[in-house]
């Protein structure tokens, strides 16, 4: 009882400490702004922004420095959705999932509603992520350690089976073909087992595999821009008349999150747990949650044509994972993502020693960081909701003015992501395929899923086979995942045979 009381003291003491220190709050405001700007620019990841900010935190107070960097990193994903929704230009692999339904909404003139929903979902995800962080502290160790390469493999396979639902009705074979094509391209690069360069010719830049952001922009952004230029007019095709992006429309979007609160809570928790387990990566979180939203929807055929759940699910997941990935970073000293790896370097500079001792020696700092995640997300969503009204007007700008500008933005993003000009050629090649898919109404999401999850599946399968041989899947958690995969496939076949009006068992959103 006394210990509990003490814990609550520390918990809220940290919040009061954070909110009443004007200097820390000022730094947080600056961090939110930088994080949002970096996040809105395609190609520049959060990792780079932390690396560049490190010189500025030299000499900062431990808590302030950590709060500054963490806030900057945490709100990064919040602004990436703006270009995904408005122009169909995702900022990175996670945002690509938001594009699938966000951009069709913008085309219907509902950019305001989509942005309202996605911004709120991001903030909601970030806050739930912080709560999951707090709740998981005592059980962190068993949960994280129960995910081995065998489970990674099965999670990736589970994500791949969602393709069956993403493809839309009657398109399951097209979906599988596109998904397999994505998986094939995921094998480009150095074979992790044999050291042989696959499909790379003499080009060293292909050794690390196909650049995900290049592929994503090629498949989504470029075809949309070609279509827009060919059609003329503006992104929002509402018959030439400018729909006033009112606060009412925005607010309607905000309200979509409480309307779909159960989905938002589920995808936030899934996102946070995926973030907690190092090795799966953020894109996997967004895509798994998007697939989950489609699979559990009563009307899956709306997805891809502007379903608001398709915006909420990936956005909650990608912000929730930040809280999750902070856990192993702080308590094991093992970073949960590449961004967190850079963050850990910065923590050392500030004099924070990540490890199990954090729990006993620095618990007030831990709580301050949890609160920083919550407060930082709240600042970010209020700011974005405030400016969105004007930003959304861009979807009514004439294509002739908009398209060249966005194409430049896409190319700068592709180049700056890895600093290799050769990726611009890859962009053109894959864009041709993406345009073909779009023109003949083939699904494009399975391509990205195959590309992102194919790599994880291959690497983990090799590891699991090397460690345990062919019987690797007999671990208890593996069996649960196999059950889920089997159920997903069975349900996909069932609903395809039975027609599309079947209600998923026990589903609701």
């Amino acid at each position: 009882m006394g210990a509990c009381r003490l814990m609550i003291d520390v918990m809220f003491g940290s919040l009061v400490g954070l909110l009443t220190n004007p200097q820390t709050m000022g730094l947080m405001l600056i961090a939110v702004m930088i994080g949002l700007i970096v996040g809105a620019t395609p190609g520049i990841g959060g990792r780079l922004s932390i690396a560049l900010a490190i010189p500025f935190v030299f000499g900062m107070d431990m808590t302030q420095g950590a709060v500054f960097l963490l806030t900057m990193h945490a709100v990064n994903g919040t602004s990436g959705q703006i270009s995904s929704i408005m122009f169909g230009v995702p900022g990175d692999g996670d945002d690509a999932a938001t594009t699938i339904d966000g951009y069709p909404m913008a085309k219907k003139g509902e950019a305001g509603r989509a942005l309202g929903a996605s911004i709120t979902a991001s903030g909601f995800g970030g806050i739930v992520g912080a709560i999951v962080f707090a709740v998981m502290i005592p059980v962190l160790e068993p949960v994280v350690l129960s995910f081995s390469p065998a489970e990674f493999f099965l999670l990736a396979v589970l994500g791949i089976t969602f393709i069956a639902f993403l493809a839309g009705k009657g398109q399951i074979f097209k979906g599988i073909i596109v998904g397999l094509f994505g998986m094939m391209l995921s094998t480009v690069g150095m074979d992790p087992q044999t050291g042989t360069a696959r499909y790379s010719g003499d080009y060293l830049f292909l050794w690390d595999g196909l650049s995900t952001i290049t592929a994503v922009l090629a498949v989504f952004a470029i075809p949309e821009m070609i279509a827009l230029a060919a059609r003329g007019g503006s992104i929002a095709s509402t018959g030439g008349e400018i729909v006033k992006v009112s606060y009412r429309q925005l607010f309607a979007g905000v309200l979509e999150v409480p309307r779909h609160w159960f989905l938002a809570v589920r995808t936030s928790i899934i996102g946070a747990i995926i973030g907690m387990v190092p090795g799966l990566g953020g894109s996997a979180a967004a895509w798994l949650c998007y697939g989950h939203a489609v699979q559990t929807s009563k009307t899956p055929e709306r997805f891809g044509h502007g379903a608001v759940e398709g915006v909420i699910a990936p956005e909650t997941a990608s912000n929730a994972k930040e809280g999750g990935s902070l856990l192993p970073t702080l308590f094991f000293g093992i970073p949960g993502s590449s961004g967190m790896a850079v963050m850990m370097g910065a923590f050392l500079i500030l004099g924070i020693q990540p490890g199990p001792a954090m729990m006993t020696q620095n618990i007030d700092l831990v709580w301050t960081l949890i609160w920083a995640l919550v407060v930082g997300n709240l600042i970010a969503i209020s700011f974005l909701l405030f400016i969105t009204r004007w930003v959304a007007l861009l979807t009514f700008v004439n294509a002739a003015m908009l398209v060249p500008f966005i194409l430049v933005l896409v190319m700068v993003g592709v180049y700056s992501a890895e600093g290799q000009w050769e990726n611009l050629i890859i962009l053109l090649l894959i864009a041709a395929i993406g345009w073909g898919l779009q023109r003949y109404d083939w699904p494009r999401a399975p391509f990205v899923i195959g590309l992102v999850l194919g790599k994880i599946a291959e690497e983990s399968l090799h590891k699991a086979l090397g460690l345990w041989g062919i019987g690797f899947f007999t671990r208890p958690l593996s069996l649960v995942l196999i059950g889920l995969i089997a159920a997903t496939i069975a349900y996909a076949i069932y609903s395809n045979v039975k027609g599309k009006n079947v209600m998923p068992a026990g589903a609701g959103s």
């Binding site: 990792r47 780079l48 932390i50 690396a51 560049l52 490190i54 010189p55 030299f58 994280v144 350690l145 081995s148 390469p149 150095m190 992790p192 087992q193 044999t194 050291g195 042989t196 060293l204 830049f205 050794w207 690390d208 190092p278 090795g279 192993p328 094991f332 000293g333 093992i334 970073p335 590449s338 790896a341 850079v342 370097g345 050392l348 500079i349 004099g351 020693q353 990540p354 490890g355 199990p356 001792a357 890895e418 600093g419 290799q420 690497e459 090799h462 590891k463 090397g466 460690l467």
Partner: protein, 336 residues
């Protein structure tokens, strides 16, 4: 022309004697108003980037009027950035840093290598980061001798063919006939997590990246390749009596001794190279830089110009047996 060469040699000599920023400035006028590109052959964040940015910032301080721009060129295990550095114009305006593990890559005559490390214009190295053998604390293995005599095969994590620890574990295993089973695909901190899960017994890695892991009680060091620390047995002592193994340990030791390199392409004019080396030395002796490096837990242990060139040359001078092992380390598994 001859005059500038003499001037450069003098500058280099003066810098070596005095080793202060004041002398460097006298011949650093070439760099006034120029932009120097510092290539980091890996992505932002992490050790190479941190050291690279630190070196660039302080070299700029000691080359008045110059502007250093750090450019990250990641890819293909530092090969892309290093190839670009090697092929850049040798005017003293392009420098860079890359993984010392490329010594292995060059020795193995790997297809991606488009450089010759012995020909580079060496500026200096900033740190000593010895390699070490580490095992999970939950494994029954307590010492190196228990590794060599284990009846059960021991799972060791490696990044994959061509990676430094893959080459090292493979070479040690085959020379000492160790009961080690190698598993690939463990990148970044995957190996630490796998040791915590218990699926992996140990690995070889740089000591600095496992210090925290060991301090947290998750692992223990069994042996270290070189370095000044005295708390861990030296691998050179542990393999004494096996000349081939001793040679291999010396090669792996060189890895750690010459860490965090700075180099320019071959053929940089002596005047510019002298000024760069002097500025590098002044940067390394800067108290502010030292204080910052210590805060990063990455203390500065510098070596300059010719000394680095000699160390690289020594490391590249290996017996055909070792070279053969390295070639295998880069191609193992092909056609399997």
């Amino acid at each position: 022309m001859a005059k500038t060469v003499v001037k450069g040699v003098l500058a280099a000599a003066a810098a070596m004697l005095a080793g202060t920023g004041a002398n460097a400035q006298a011949d650093a006028s070439f760099f006034n108003g120029k932009t120097v590109t510092y290539i980091v052959a890996t992505a932002p964040g992490g050790g190479y980037d941190t050291y690279g940015r630190l070196v660039a910032e302080y070299m700029q301080k000691y080359l008045p009027g110059s502007t250093f721009v750090v450019r990250n060129m990641p890819g293909a295990g530092h090969l892309i950035g290093t190839n670009a550095l090697y092929a850049s114009k040798p005017d003293g305006l392009t420098l860079g840093t890359f993984n010392t593990g490329l010594v292995y890559t060059q020795l193995a005559k790997h297809e991606g290598v488009r450089f010759d490390l012995t020909k580079m214009s060496w500026i200096g190295k900033a740190a000593t980061d010895p390699r070490a053998v580490v095992v999970a604390s939950q494994s029954p293995i307590k010492s190196w001798s228990e590794v060599t005599t284990s009846k059960e095969p021991l799972n060791f994590a490696t990044s994959g063919p061509g990676g430094a620890n893959f080459v090292e574990v493979l070479a040690m295993t085959s020379i000492l006939k160790l009961p080690i089973r190698m598993l690939s695909g463990y990148n970044g901190t995957d190996d630490q997590l796998a040791m915590r899960r218990g699926e992996i017994v140990g690995t070889i890695g740089s000591r600095s990246s496992f210090d925290q892991f060991v301090a947290n009680g998750y692992g223990r060091f069994l042996g270290q390749f070189g370095g000044s620390e005295k708390d861990i047995p030296q691998m050179a002592d542990l393999v004494k009596g096996n000349p081939e193994a001793e040679r291999l340990v010396r090669l792996i030791t060189a890895q750690g001794d010459i860490a965090r390199l700075t180099a320019a392409p071959p053929g940089v004019p002596a005047a510019q190279l002298g000024a760069l080396r002097a500025a590098y030395r002044a940067a390394m002796e800067d108290r502010e830089l030292q204080a910052r490096a210590i805060k990063l837990e990455k203390p500065v242990e510098p070596l300059y110009g010719e000394d680095v060139a000699r160390a690289i040359e020594q490391a590249l001078n290996q017996s055909p047996e070792v070279v053969q092992l390295l070639v295998e380390g880069f191609s193992k598994g092909r056609g399997r």
